[in-house]
């Protein structure tokens, strides 16, 4: 684990916490952008260049702007009288903490089975490791051409379904958001 990972992870978690905890909704949207950027950096750190740049384009470029538009259209930046948290916030916080406890326990408990860092004499600890070679593979050299070929070849059916889904979401969002205007006429 390198220092850069810890820095990016801290940035991401801080952005997420700020997005959830801040009072002003516009500040929340900006903190959400920071969290998205941190996740994109984590993707790039994992040698997933295409996914990282897709994350920047889709989330920072589109979703964050969409959230800001929605906040401004609904006047959501005004703090409500009863505070920003729901009446049942304790239940939600308990559920989230329980989920994190279970997830963290699962990751920590399964750590001996996961690929180790490139340190020698760790392969014998796991029966699942067949070769004594370092279990962390070298960075796969993935080009955009390979991703394009995979999308147009092996994954062409999911690609078409996603295309239909995006068209349906486009039409659906317009219909849902335009409905009141038709009634008002």
């Amino acid at each position: 684990m390198s220092l850069i990972f810890y820095l990016i992870a801290a940035l991401t978690v801080a952005g997420g916490l700020a997005a959830v905890l801040l009072k002003n909704t516009v500040h929340c949207a900006l903190a959400l952008t920071v969290a998205f950027a941190g996740l994109a950096l984590l993707f790039l750190n994992l040698d997933a260049q295409f996914a990282g740049f897709a994350q920047i384009l889709v989330y920072i470029g589109a979703v964050a702007i969409l959230v800001v538009f929605a906040i401004l259209l609904t006047k959501g930046s005004e703090t409500p009288q009863g505070g920003v948290f729901s009446r049942t916030w304790l239940v939600g916080l308990t559920a989230a903490a329980a989920v994190f406890a279970v997830l963290g326990w699962a990751v920590i408990a399964s750590a001996p089975l996961l690929p180790k860092a490139a340190t020698p004499a760790t392969a014998a600890t796991s029966a699942m490791v067949v070769t004594p070679a370092p279990a962390v593979p070298p960075a796969p050299a993935v080009t955009v051409e390979q991703i394009g070929r995979a999308l147009a070849g092996r994954y062409v059916l999911p690609l078409e379904i996603v295309a239909v889904l995006l068209t349906a979401a486009l039409i659906g969002a317009v219909i849902v958001a335009m409905h009141e205007k038709e009634e008002a006429k």
Binding site: A9, A35, L46, A51, A62, T74, P137, V142
Partner: protein, 107 residues
């Protein structure tokens, strides 16, 4: 304990943390847009898991996790568009986005 975590475990822990933060936000905030923000954080944490398993899995050259994450990003974008459209429509209808105040299914 923390000194000997593997890279994959580190990414999984960050993803678990971001997921839990998103879940807490979705369950505790009153503004519907903030609930959607929490859901986006959870989806992103799942994407991080997919990418991390792709990177440290046995066959990264098959691109399975990466393609899964790209499709997940596309579906999440569609979800955000429809969800925020619904929030705008609810705001037009009920004059609020406070989820504690929206307690009727029938208009």
């Amino acid at each position: 304990m923390m000194g000997q975590i593997t890279p994959l475990a580190g990414y999984l822990l960050v993803a678990a943390l971001v997921f839990s933060i998103g879940l807490a936000g979705a369950l505790t905030r009153r503004n519907a847009i903030l609930v959607l923000i929490g859901i986006e954080l959870m989806l992103n944490a799942a994407n991080l898991n997919l990418i991390a398993f792709w990177r440290y899995g046995p066959h990264p050259e098959l691109l399975t996790g990466m393609i899964f994450a790209i499709f997940s990003i596309a579906v999440a974008a569609a979800e955000a568009a429809v969800g925020l459209g619904l929030v705008i429509q609810i705001h037009r209808h009920a004059r609020t986005t406070d989820l504690d105040a929206i307690n009727r299914m029938k208009g």
